[in-house]
Symmetry: C2
Subunit: 378 residues, 2 copies
Amino acid sequence: MYVTGIGRTKFGMLNKSLHELLYDAIYKALHDSTMDIADIDIIIVANFLSGCTQSQLHLGSVVSSLLPGLNLPAYRIEAACASGGLAIYQALSMSEKFNNILVVGGERLNTIPNKDLTKNIAMAGDFLRDQQEGLIFPAQYAFVASQYFKKYGATHNDLALVTLKNYANASKNPLAHFNYKDISLDTINFSQMICSPLRLFDCCAISDGAAAIILSREKKTDRDIEIIGAGARTDVISLSNRKDFTTFASTKLAAKDAYNMAKIRPKDIDIAELHDCFSIAELVAMEDLDFCKIGEGISLIRASETTLSGSLPINTDGGLLGDGHPIGATGIAQIYEIVEQLRGESKYRQIHNAKLGLTHNVGGVGGTAVVLILEGPS
Amino acid sequence: MYVTGIGRTKFGMLNKSLHELLYDAIYKALHDSTMDIADIDIIIVANFLSGCTQSQLHLGSVVSSLLPGLNLPAYRIEAACASGGLAIYQALSMSEKFNNILVVGGERLNTIPNKDLTKNIAMAGDFLRDQQEGLIFPAQYAFVASQYFKKYGATHNDLALVTLKNYANASKNPLAHFNYKDISLDTINFSQMICSPLRLFDCCAISDGAAAIILSREKKTDRDIEIIGAGARTDVISLSNRKDFTTFASTKLAAKDAYNMAKIRPKDIDIAELHDCFSIAELVAMEDLDFCKIGEGISLIRASETTLSGSLPINTDGGLLGDGHPIGATGIAQIYEIVEQLRGESKYRQIHNAKLGLTHNVGGVGGTAVVLILEGPS
């Protein structure tokens, strides 16, 4: 299908309700397209925590309330932090049945104390084993980083290079959560320890925000970008049931499906949005997506190959670290960025001559992964 | 698509985890089919409240953990009490992409105090207007009943006839939550007042349970039952934004879509499973589905036309009132019942010569409605 409209809000600590955020993103996606809301056949809403943070479930009907009189089919998809990506994967699977599908995702997190929020986010992990042991996500990804350091000789400075790059990219993105112009490697390397070896700047922040895209069976204008590959896979939810923490089977399998469907190879990808909920996750994803061999992600980051001027720019919008991670919106915002880049509308962070883009969205610590591949005009 | 396997647990207050319930239903659906788990291409999980009641979200990955090594695409759909029906609707929309789809839904509710549960279930209603006013669902459906009584001259005895029938049917269903043999009209009419005019027996109970079906593009055996019509529609979430409480636009529009797709008329339906979360909801649904004219549902129930020996048996398994309402499972259990009936495997409650069956699953107070139509062998 073709992405025929994109819209998003600014990400950050916003003083707007989830309703307003979703409405803003929908309105902007329609405005960006050549279509009217009456052309939409079905709506999919991606969200992770509105029950716990807004006391509001049944978001299909909530979105229907924002568009009174339409009575469209509408429902919510939840796959932890991969909710947005999964909603798009699922929309693509219905391409034979619907002409135009609106996918909107959003999250309003800054409504409850951080302590409660940490507990709520941990619901993406296994309750039986991990939550009750206090294994919140910074701790889970600290396991990943520790094992990666040991196996491949990486140090915290390699993680800091990921963060430095993503904050630099975010500073050129007016919609990003963080617009700092002058973060240094020292600031990152000596920031507060959260869970060794992960420090404050290795962890994405708590963001509010929403994003929406319209997917259409038929191309409407020359600005439309086709999604030519898609994969979504799962894995056992708990790290305790996995042998190797430094690779996610869900990502590898989803990528294989997406590359096969698109009939391309990993080296054909020009730009990518990876799920850097923690800095270490970007390195692991680069390897699982076959952008380099296992253990060689650190070489690419040290050689600046993934910066805006490198051979494979990654997270040009700032990623989850810099742009923000309003959970239900994240997978959709990744598509927003790639579409803008392939259209040539990214201004100060525009990558020239990019033709193939990839997005990678993860739930939990690899319990779910979605990979999508987009092709721009020749 | 064809329903090629069905499975469910007993409904009730069960001492089993959500994991066990989902596993049981999946196992039974596979056992009922001619297939192996390796034949399944994708899994959809329907659930409403596992975040609040089990501290467990990300159920796609949880189900993946029950089936280690498969790494299938799997994710959760939530549409309040219509989650199960919507998961099936969504699976049907992907029929071109996948050969065999497993849809499993379940709910474990009896883990937290009733007071908290009431508050959690209210999250299917509008937070901004209704939850904060204390408008929990018995109160919302009491509005529906009051207005219906006034408009059409119904009395509580008409509601009691609905409950009496559904409990009688449940007494012939060994998997039902309630198996009472001797409920009288007096017991129902003089049961505890919950929210006038609704009494205890007008309200479905809190049930645990799970149900699963396998949907296949191709017919495998003569026991397979085709789903020939489907509709899913939404409406504004709050009653305060509707003009008439005695009819649900979501049901009427979903039914129209389903009848058109199936190319049948309402009078062609032989048996139906309606969403009787409250007794009044069954009367409203009969009318919205065009089984009779508006206001004439009471005539049908008074004439016993919807009992097992009537012209249009409704809720032969006992419905939500008698069989139970383990929320995520409900829409799937409705299909379970119709498939068993059309196969001729319903034993003590078998309806003879039934060929066309309908299911109707509602979220909130008509914020979402799903209608599915099944055709048995000639």
